[in-house]
């Protein structure tokens, strides 16, 4: 007999019939029974007395707090309360560079934007530059005063003691070391040189945790000049990359993404785009954008480079050297490169001298130099020197070092052999760290002389010859910190005002190089305002190959690839963590990796076939080279390879960074990125990732529509044919909206978007989106208003990857609006699906009814809550909040507003200036941050606007159009330049 569940004892009676209606009416009866109403008992009456008395008492006791308004004593002319100021500055950190505009409200910087005047970066930014403003307010991790062995100390006393050590080291015949990453600042280098002149014992060592010195050295070996050419992807019609993740992390990703996108945007009038072939082991952002991606083992990659060289040499009549067979059709590739002579570019991400020499030779045969590789205005990145670093450690070990100083470098975390360095450091009597915030190296140093954050500093940088970018402070130092350069000036017994120094430097070095301003003061003010000065300075080299270089390189490379292990691993930077410097930035920690969509973790990626062979599944922890890492199955990963992101596993960086992930630097023994896996095994334990997208397939629905270039040339709506069908079948019962004035539309060019996720951070910074932490992300409660969906197409071992930025679609027939019981979400006169937080009662019906899943629910109060101990839980951290956007309370739904505050601001500006709103006046945060300019926002009621043109493009489609939601966000189909 079937098992029956019952709720009350009556139900067990076989004659029992449930009397739902009766019981319902009986409950109502209690309320409507007139005997009850008439006989308000004394107790009820007393209750009424009490209620009226106490509600009156309680309510009148709710006093409005007295709020004070404190004006300035002397209001600065430039500062208007309630209005933002913008300052041009530069984000410079080692090799990383971005010319930026800083938005400052009431004296505090709150948002970073790209500087359109900088032709090098093209006005874009990246996630790290976007998030850098948050590090300014990191009061948990920032050093707040100069200290000696943890004790507070005065600047003068510290200066005296260090100066004494610098002097005495020379007398004792010992060395002092200053370790810095690549310095893009010419004035800082000049300053270090004068310091060296004053203290001859001082040695200057440049070292990058993730370096590009092999490229520089390869040019020295091959062409006789240590330089890195500027990579002009915008001039290329064929791009071949060997593990160079140039769209996300490699050398100058902001500039490269901008240039790359220029060759990827196509229109009916100009149906031409570059072709991108990518060789790599793990799936990188750049690789996932390639037209043809070849997953290969790192050693095979080097074999391919050798073979490609030989094939090209054979075709161009250059000497050929024997090399191992790679198994890839390099002949066809060589022919293709030569077919694009002068318009191809070959790049290699391996920090391997021999490989880079061969790449130089290949580029030379492809006639890239002078065309796609600028050998006059060369890059300044990659000045690190591994050998000098090794020598320094040796000297330290031998006790020859009196003083070691660390500027913007944290080798105790990211030097491959950090333990050796640590014991060597113990041998040095005095050490100094200039760290801005907590790091592993500063912890071990005698002195901590905290440097200013870049938003509190003066400075200058020259990322590429002929482009000077100025850095100016946007606020007074928050803590008792002093700029590194000012400290150097103090040691030179000079005035510590670096502003005066840099002004003097500009007068001497920059002012004579321009002719626009005859007066220096005028020049200085205007250049500072622009942030950028472009001059005709060059650092050129002749692309003429030295003899014997290639044969040596091939010979050495052959031995390197000859005896490699079956399983190899690669480490790489990712868009958020880079070399680990920004690990304590909760925005970056919570940024899902563009490819795997994992936040708050790094992981060992293996291929599906490898996982199947060894019976592995997502989250299994494996132990390789005696490090335990959780693994994931990554479609497109090369067989027998493991790749792992750098920058995680910090131990002394702050509450957001510590103990998150695994320190991949620990696995290395040198600067190269290719390593053998000596041993590996499954540990048996598992790990749960914080993953924001667990479903990877579009289930056969045309969510992301793509086509190939050939098909596009034949028919401009290739891949988008289904749209016609949908348009024909559109009908609705609801009245349609009319838009008398503006009708805002956002267009996303899927061909230009490379998935770098800069927009996600920009949106978070602009809209006060909270960080929720690993646990909450695991529960799928991430609050990002926009996300980048990533889908795989094709076979598992080498799938095609498509990215789709997804924000609120602002549907004209919005499903969310119809179900809101309190009309908290409704439609505006300008086509915006608006959300009134104070009206929302948190039913979440709208979330359930949204087919795009772009609405977010505030499960908790994320601000001022110890459970979410991120930036919003500290007085200083909340300074970054945008005062133009409400901080949402618990229990309300939120979502993308098209940056309504910016729309309102632009409209008001136009009204006050008594003019029509121009196209381009409104720039939402995502659009402004995008290095590829993949997003375009505007008013389609303005027939001259860009969006009005783009929405008519045959490539345009709307997501899930068949639901007749009429989204105002449009997507342009992705076109791939595939053969066949």
């Amino acid at each position: 007999m079937e098992k029956k569940y019952w709720q009350s004892i009556e139900e067990t009676n076989p004659d029992y019939t449930p009397q739902k209606e009766e019981s319902n009416s009986s409950t109502i009866e209690i309320l409507t029974d007139d005997t009850n109403v008439k006989s308000t008992s004394r107790r009820d009456f007393l209750k009424w007395c009490g209620i009226s008395f106490f509600s009156a008492t309680v309510i009148s006791a709710c006093e409005n707090p007295v709020k004070k308004a404190i004006p300035y004593l002397h209001q600065p002319e430039t500062l208007t309360p309630g209005k933002a100021n913008w300052y041009a500055s530069s984000f410079v950190d080692g090799n990383r560079f971005c010319s930026v505009l800083v938005k400052s409200r009431d004296g505090r910087p709150i948002k970073i934007e790209g500087n359109d005047l900088c032709t090098f970066t093209g006005g874009g930014t990246n996630a790290i530059a976007q998030a850098s403003v948050l590090s300014l307010y990191d009061d948990g991790a920032r050093y707040k005063y100069p200290a000696k062995k943890g004790e507070k100390i005065g600047w003068e006393i510290a200066d005296e003691q260090i100066k004494k050590a610098l002097r005495e080291a020379g007398e004792k015949g010992k060395k002092c070391y200053l370790l810095t990453p690549t310095l893009l600042s010419q004035s800082t280098k000049e300053l270090i040189n004068s310091l060296k002149a004053k203290y001859p014992a001082l040695e200057f060592v440049s070292w990058d945790a993730v370096g590009y010195e092999a490229i520089r050295e390869a040019h020295l070996t091959a062409f006789g000049r240590a330089a890195i050419p500027d990579y002009r992807f915008d001039k290329a019609s064929l791009i071949v990359s060997f593990s160079a993740d140039f769209l996300a992390t490699w050398v100058a990703p902001v500039s490269f993404a901008n240039r790359y996108a220029k060759t990827r945007k196509i229109s009916e009038s100009n149906p031409a785009m570059s072709r991108h072939i990518h060789f790599e082991a793990g799936m990188s952002v750049t690789g996932s954008n390639a037209d043809e991606r070849v997953p290969v083992k790192p050693s095979t990659e080097l074999d391919i480079i050798m073979e490609l060289y030989n094939e090209m040499a054979a075709l161009t009549g250059n000497p050929v050297f024997s090399s191992p067979a790679s198994g890839y059709d390099t002949k066809a590739l060589a022919e293709e490169i030569l077919a694009h002579k002068g318009k191809s570019i070959i790049v290699c991400g391996h920090n391997n001298l021999q490989a880079q020499i061969l790449i130089n030779a290949i580029n030379l045969m492809a006639e890239s130099y002078g065309n796609t590789l600028d050998n006059r205005k060369t890059l300044n990145m990659g000045q690190g020197n591994q050998e000098a670093m090794a020598q320094m450690i040796e000297q330290m070990e031998q006790g020859n070092a009196e003083l070691v100083m660390f500027y913007k470098s944290n080798p105790l975390y990211n030097y491959p052999n950090a333990d050796r360095l640590k014991s060597a450091l113990a041998n040095v009597p005095m050490s100094v760290s200039f760290a801005t915030a907590k790091d592993e190296t500063a912890k071990e140093c005698t002195f901590i002389l905290p440097d200013n954050h870049y938003l509190e500093s003066w400075g200058e940088a020259m990322p590429v010859w002929g482009t000077h970018s100025l850095m100016q402070p946007v606020m007074q130092p928050v803590f008792n910190t002093r700029q590194f350069q000012s400290t150097l000036l103090a040691w030179l017994d000079k005035d510590t005002d670096y502003h005066a120094y840099i002004k003097e430097y500009a007068e001497k070095a920059l002012f004579p190089r321009q002719t626009r301003y005859p007066d220096f003061q005028q020049f200085w003010i205007n250049t500072l305002q622009a942030g950028i000065l472009e001059t005709d300075e060059v650092f050129a080299f002749d692309a003429r190959l030295q003899s014997g270089v290639v044969s040596d390189a091939v010979a050495q490379l052959k031995t390197q690839t000859a005896n490699t292990a079956q399983v190899q691993f690669m480490v790489h930077e990712n868009v958020a963590m880079a070399d680990g410097s920004y690990a304590n930035n909760p925005w970056l920690q919570e940024l899902p990796d563009p490819v795997t969509k994992i936040a708050w973790d790094n992981f060992a990626a293996v291929s599906p076939a490898f996982a199947e062979e060894h019976n592995l599944k997502d989250g299994d922890i494996i132990n390789f080279n005696s490090v335990e890492v959780p693994m994931i199955i990554q479609p497109g990963q090369a067989m027998d390879t493991i790749s792992l992101a750098l920058g995680y596993g910090r131990t002394f960086a702050g509450k957001s960074a510590d103990k998150v992930g695994v320190n991949a630097f620990r696995l290395l023994t040198g600067s190269a990125f290719l390593w053998d896996v000596a041993t590996w095994q499954k540990t048996g334990s598992g790990h749960q990732f914080a993953r924001t997208q667990t479903h990877h397939s579009m289930e056969g629905r045309p969510i992301v529509r793509e086509s190939t270039l050939d098909k596009y040339k034949q028919s401009p709506n290739a891949g988008n044919e289904i749209r016609e069908y949908h348009l024909k079948h559109m009908s609705t019962l609801y009245p349609e909206h009319t838009y008398e004035g503006h009708h805002w539309v956002l267009m996303v060019d899927l061909n230009a978007c490379n998935g770098c996720s800069t927009c996600v951070i920009a949106c978070q910074a602009e809209n006060n989106t909270p960080v929720v932490g690993k646990d909450e992300v695991r529960r799928r409660r991430i609050m990002h208003w926009m996300r980048i969906d990533r889908y795989y197409t094709g076979e598992k071992e080498n799938p095609g990857v498509v990215y789709m930025p997804l924000m609120c679609q602002h549907c004209d027939a919005a499903p969310c609006e119809n179900v809101c019981p309190v009309s908290a979400t409704n439609h505006s006169h300008e086509g915006i699906n608006q959300m009134a937080y104070n009206r929302c009662v948190g039913t979440k019906y709208c979330i359930n009814n949204c087919p795009y899943k772009v609405r977010r629910f505030n499960w908790f109060r994320y601000a001022m809550n110890d459970r979410f101990d991120y930036n919003m839980n500290s007085e200083l951290g909340r300074m970054v909040l945008n005062p133009d956007v409400t901080v949402r309370e618990r229990g309300v739904v939120e979502k993308c507003s098209f940056c309504i505050q910016r729309i309102q601001d632009a409209k008001l500006k136009a009204k006050n200036e008594r003019r029509k709103l121009k196209d381009g006046d409104v720039v939402p945060a995502c659009m402004g941050a995008c290095p590829s300019k993949a997003l375009v926002f505007g008013d389609i009621n303005d027939p001259d606007s860009k969006v009005a043109r783009l929405i008519k493009d045959p490539r345009n489609y709307h997501l899930l159009e068949e639901f007749h939601t009429l989204p105002t966000v449009g997507y342009l189909t992705k076109i791939r330049n595939k053969k066949g």
């Binding site: 009156a56 309510i59 409400t886 507003s897 309102q904 008594r914």
Partner: protein
């Protein structure tokens, strides 16, 4: 059901003999509470003192115990017993009596309290309050009441304090009183004394009625009890409702400001434009409180006010000297989730300040005239026509322009252009 309830009610009452006791206790508590709240605010006392104890003596008294030039040799003898900072409770008491005129001054002059309040007031009194003078005295070790009284420097001081002098002993006593004032702080202002009396009085009456109705049964007519209780509930309910509606709104809020600044003097009599001081209203979201240097534009020259003499204006100068900005009390404030822009309304909307702020130029103390509720905002959005014809921004509304041409409509209100959209104010 009905019976059940009544029975249970009665039995409960009978079984709990504690009721009379608890009622008595509650009564005592309420009385104590009322008494306490009255005592906590010393304002009525002060007022009383001021009204009743005016000592009028016209005895001219030339004081000889002057500290400085007058008779320095005597001063040295006389001043030494009165060391600043050392006061006995006896002296404090005497100082207070002196200030309030309960003990006459040696010179027979007016008591201080006839002109100076002890605490800042709801209604304006242009003379400095005792607490303010006490603060000044506390900040400045060289501050001497005697000097000011005996040798007034400004016109106002001279006129108002003509013939008033005090002795070193009296100064010492007044200083003693100052210390007490400083210790006690400004105290709280009693908000609505009449309403409070009604509230508590009715509460007390209701309690009595209930007690009599259930236990004592002295009054045979139940109608009396019921009348009292119904009136009580109604009045309390009305209070509750009024307060609930006002919750978060501050209509009629007119706080005392750190400087007795009169908009009437500045905006009406001297005809200074609103935007001379609140200049950012034209181009920024917020209408600024003028910074000190703006005040100084005039008050560098204008050192004495018509009403308050130099005392209030000195505060601006002192703020500049001490590098301490003036902490004004904000009157008009919207909740954080409303993004109101002055520039939008003043510049683009061409609204007059008075439309939202009332006739500020007629007020000594600024009072919030409108309730600044959302309904009030929306009413204006629905009624107010925008600058549709002159401002080229509105040219994009082609269809509406056409309708006007055809005579279908006369003008366009803000609401018709999206002025009712949630996200025009809340984002």
């Amino acid at each position: 059901m009905k019976k059940n309830q009544q029975i249970s009610g009665k039995t409960w009452l009978k079984s709990t003999k504690l009721l009379p006791l608890s009622a008595f206790l509650a009564m005592v508590t309420i009385m104590l509470f009322t008494l306490n709240s009255v005592l906590a605010t010393d304002q009525p006392e002060t007022d009383e003192v001021m009204d009743t104890t005016e000592v009028i003596t016209d005895e001219p008294a030339e004081q000889t115990e002057q500290q400085e030039e007058a008779q320095p040799e005597e001063a040295a003898e006389e001043v030494s017993p009165y060391v600043r900072g050392e006061y006995t409770t006896q002296q404090i008491r005497r100082g207070e009596r002196l200030f309030h005129g309960l003990a006459p001054f040696g010179s027979g002059l007016h008591d201080c309290a006839s002109c100076h309040y002890t605490q800042p007031q709801k209604e304006i009194n242009w003379n400095p309050a005792a607490i303010e003078m006490a603060r000044l005295w506390e900040q400045d070790p060289g501050y001497s009441i005697m000097d000011i009284m005996n040798n007034p420097v400004s016109m106002r001081l001279m006129e108002d304090h003509a013939g008033m002098t005090i002795t070193a002993e009296e100064q010492h006593l007044l200083e003693a009183y100052y210390t007490q004032l400083l210790e006690k702080g400004p105290g709280e202002l009693k908000a609505y004394p009449i309403r409070a009396a009604i509230f508590w009085g009715l509460g007390f009456l209701m309690l009595l009625a209930i007690v009599d109705l259930i236990i004592t049964r002295k009054i045979p007519f139940k109608g009396v009890h019921i009348f009292i209780l119904f009136i009580g509930i109604a009045v309390h309910g009305q209070f509750a409702m009024a307060e609930a509606q006002r919750l978060g709104r501050t209509q009629d809020y007119a706080p005392d400001q750190p400087i007795k600044f009169s908009h009437l003097i500045h905006a009406e009599e001297n005809e200074i434009d609103c935007q001379y001081c609140h200049f950012t209203a034209d181009f920024s979201a917020t209408a600024n409180f003028p910074s000190n240097n703006v005040c100084m534009n005039c008050h560098n020259v204008v050192r004495t006010g018509t009403l308050s003499g130099a005392f209030e204006i000195n505060k601006i100068h002192r703020a500049a000297d001490n590098d301490e900005p003036i902490e004004w009390i904000r009157v008009h404030k919207l909740p954080d989730h409303s993004f109101f822009s002055h520039a939008q309304h003043v510049n683009a909307g061409k609204l007059d300040c008075a439309e939202c702020h009332g006739q500020v130029e007629t007020m000594h103390i600024v009072r919030q005239v409108e309730d600044l509720s959302m309904g009030w905002c929306l009413t204006c959005h629905r009624e107010h026509e925008v600058d549709f014809f002159d401002n080229p921004y509105f040219q994009i509304y082609e269809r509406l322009h056409e309708k006007i041409k055809n005579g279908e409509i006369n003008g366009v209100t803000a609401a018709e252009l999206g002025g009712e959209d949630c996200m025009s104010c809340h984002y």
